[in-house]
Point group: C2
Amino acid sequence: MGRTSDAKQKILAAARSLIEGRGYSALGVAEICKAAGVPKGSFYYFFESKESLALAVVDEHWAAQKRDWARVLGASAEPLERLRQLFEETEAGQRTVQQGCGTVSGCLFGNLTLELSNQTETVRGRLQEIFDAQVDMVESVVAEARERGDVTVADTREAARAVVAQLEGQVMFAKLYNNTQRLSPLWQNCRALLGATGS
Amino acid sequence: MGRTSDAKQKILAAARSLIEGRGYSALGVAEICKAAGVPKGSFYYFFESKESLALAVVDEHWAAQKRDWARVLGASAEPLERLRQLFEETEAGQRTVQQGCGTVSGCLFGNLTLELSNQTETVRGRLQEIFDAQVDMVESVVAEARERGDVTVADTREAARAVVAQLEGQVMFAKLYNNTQRLSPLWQNCRALLGATGS
């Protein structure tokens, strides 16, 4: 059983790395198994299809990211300070990947959204749930900030969507220009989008 | 010669449509030729490789979009009004595609950025030039608005990048949720990002 779950983790890790580097569509199961160093039979023991593997990769990545976001956004700091921290950690995370593999990998969910959303309804549905959850988490911090008078924005839902859209757009450019400094203005842009009152 | 250039246009149109629907990586030359209704020999008469086709598709799309952006952003209306018009036309364009094929196709350049930027340096370079040009065009309108006192933003370059990033991020969500209304808040978000002074 130890070996079994090890093979599953190897497949997931190889798939995650290949999807980050080359996208999902052009990948084959044989290639994933080769990179994972497991026989092809193992793949179908754990996953029904390439699509179910994609869902597992997405779920695993979101489980880890959700923990990070919850830690940062649920901390005891002032609400806007928590958002600032989220952007700093995002920038640091992209920098770490870039230092490891030479290129900014961007956001796995954004990448798959633009590559896949019109091809598989199952993956689309999962990505919608993830971005809805991100917006929920940001919105609750924005609502807290508004109660304190730290921001003036009228519609906290639209404001949270705008913040997550700004994050995805700037991460796209960090990837395109292979430059994590593209993420540095996120904090000022977020303050502008929220109508932050302080300095 | 009439037939020859016709074949090239057919290949470009088929490739554009296939790339919009399924991305670039999973496409094969045979499939593109089949969709275009031209023999495979024609393909290599016009294009050295699939990559050179991708560049041609990108260039053709940008030539058309640049004309549209120049018309809207170079019009005689007040600067912020021109930006508002740009977002309205973007939303209308995505709505037209959705009505035609059932799904929001998103931004061809954003899609290829997230699918391809770490795979082909040539395409990455071209997409960088295109987004640089978009930021240039937006920045010159923002600078005009600032001269008139319509916006308070300090760094017009960063502000223009933030506006284009917001556009790409919201277009991503319009595609993910297959809902062009996701683009409606663009104008208010742009005003916030620029520190617009009027109402």
